[in-house]
């Protein structure tokens, strides 16, 4: 399977993913959908929050982030995080 880098071809983020995400975005108003291109920082995610978020995603989605995916780039936006998650889950 080839990894796509074009987020337009990505499936939409699942409710499960968004549900976990929501918990870690204190500045996201209740009931509002997060915008895929908005930075996670703009929704109030801080450094420690990113670690908690990563661990929660691993638990809920039963996956493991490989070391090389733990970058600022991965945790920049909702889109980049979702893309990383799908790529990791698609990897053989």
């Amino acid at each position: 399977m080839t990894h796509t880098t074009d987020s337009a071809t990505q499936p939409e983020p699942t409710q499960e993913f968004l549900g976990v995400l929501r918990e870690f975005l204190p500045a996201l108003p209740a009931g509002e959908e997060p915008a895929p291109e908005a930075t996670l920082a703009s929704y109030g995610l801080d450094s420690l929050g990113s670690i908690s978020l990563m661990l929660a995603l691993e638990e809920t989605l039963d996956m493991t982030f490989p070391e090389e995916r733990l970058s600022a780039e991965t945790f920049r936006t909702i889109g980049s995080l979702w893309q990383t998650v799908t790529e990791i889950r698609q990897a053989p």
Partner: protein, 431 residues
């Protein structure tokens, strides 16, 4: 002074620096003895040690980290920790006031804009500008990387209004570095660091400082109101996370730890002196238990000192790798070490003095009298775990430890980091 690299110039510069260093260490020892004589009174009155701080001003020690080009002593963090330890052994409160000041100076030196630096650094070097720190805020407590009060903008520039419940040397400082939410619409993690000169601010006293220890720090509660321009934002708008990771947190931890270690070292020196006193020895008789206890205290402080030294080395090596951005300072391994340092030294120094009180006993350890600084050291060092709570740091480090699968333990030659990138870069963490 010339910074031409290479050859003779460099040797002259290094020689110069060594001469300055030796002079500064000798000065610090003299001052420490002087401060030791005033420490009991400062503690008893819970009064700002004005005379001590005046000495720091007139001897140039406020400018220890200010580059020579701006009139300062141009020394580095190793020297800062040496002096911090020496002063800590004399008067914990005075030393902490100086350490907090140095933390702010390091931040200004590295992250201040050119104009701000050239205006303020010479004043610091001349002893005219004592800096204080405002990060704690009602409602968020000690959480460093967030802020509630927001900077406001109107046609006249920026408006800063903020409560500041705990400010070391708050009433005596000549300027403050203040964390603020960047704008009214910014989330709490979008933080800027503002330089606020006292003369441009309305500073109102809100609450006193009547505490168990560190009483001379006069860490009063204030409210602050000031008009600023963008030039006052150290590290630029929303620049605080990068500034904190790169400089403010590590230098703060290094400076505080140096002081705490110095306080404990002074206490140990006192007890060693006591146990060498023939009269006391005859009184107490020979005791393997006392030897055992003393060895443990010494061991604990040596280990804490080695940890401090290794973190300093690691910090300076990261600095040398990258002189501009936040770079490798957000590496998981380094964060684990520099947070762990604060936790470990705050516990070790307090634990050591607790044991020393036990060794010295009721009369020489627990009793308050001018000749026995142990009970004061005990009270002063109790603040160390609270001063940016160890609990917060341990929660953070517990999470970070899960990320460092390689377990890149700290080693003295700085080859510790397991080398993988930081999870969060503070440089580009913003929209």
């Amino acid at each position: 002074m010339s910074t031409t690299p290479g050859g003779a110039d460099e040797r002259v510069r290094d020689a110069d620096e060594n001469v300055r260093r030796e002079a500064v260490l000798a000065l610090a020892r003299r001052l420490s003895d002087e401060f030791a004589r005033g420490a009991a009174k400062t503690d008893e009155a819970a009064a700002f040690p004005a005379a001590h701080v005046q000495r720091l001003r007139e001897t140039g020690l406020l400018g220890l980290l200010v580059p020579t080009a701006h009139g300062g002593l141009g020394l580095g963090l190793h020297d800062m920790t040496r002096v911090g330890r020496i002063l800590g052994a004399g008067c914990a409160s005075t030393a902490m006031i100086w350490a907090m000041h140095c933390q702010q100076v390091a931040t200004l030196v590295r992250h201040g804009g050119e104009e701000l630096r050239s205006r303020v650094l010479p004043r610091i070097a001349a002893g005219d500008c004592l800096l204080a720190s405002i990060t704690t805020e009602a409602g968020k407590g000690g959480h460093l990387l967030s802020a509630l009060a927001a900077l406001d903008t109107d046609e006249n520039g920026l408006l800063l209004e903020r409560d500041a419940p705990v400010v070391t040397a708050g009433l005596e400082a000549d300027a403050y570095l203040v964390t603020m939410r960047t704008g009214p619409d910014s989330p709490a993690n979008d933080v800027s660091l503002a330089f606020v000169p006292r003369e441009d601010a309305e500073v109102a006293f809100r609450s006193g400082w009547e505490t168990l220890g560190m009483r001379g720090t006069a860490s009063v509660g204030l409210t602050l109101r000031a008009r600023l321009t963008e030039e006052h934002l150290v590290g630029g708008p929303a620049g605080f996370p990068a500034v904190a990771v790169r400089t403010l947190i590590p230098v703060g931890h290094l400076a505080w730890c140096a002081v705490w270690l110095g306080v404990a070292q002074g206490a140990l020196r006192h007890v060693v002196g006591l146990l060498r006193d023939p009269k006391v020895r005859r009184e107490r008789g020979r005791s393997d238990l006392a030897s055992h206890q003393l060895a443990r205290v010494r061991l604990r402080l040596d280990a804490a000192g080695a940890f401090l030294g290794a973190c300093l080395t690691e910090y300076e090596e990261l600095d040398a790798l990258d002189s501009a951005g936040p770079g490798r300072h957000s590496d998981v391994a380094f964060q684990l070490h520099i947070n762990g340092l604060k936790v470990e030294v705050s516990e070790a120094a307090f634990g050591a003095v607790d044991d020393l009180v036990q060794i010295a006993g009721l009369r020489y350890g627990y009793t308050r009298s001018p000749g026995t600084p142990l009970e004061r050291a005990f009270r002063d060092l109790r603040a160390a775990r609270l001063m940016y709570s160890n609990d917060r740091l341990l929660v953070a480090n517990g999470q970070l430890a899960l990320l460092d699968r390689e377990v890149g333990l700290l080693s003295v030659d700085g080859t510790s980091g397991s080398g993988h990138a930081a999870l969060f870069s503070t440089a580009d963490g913003k929209a």
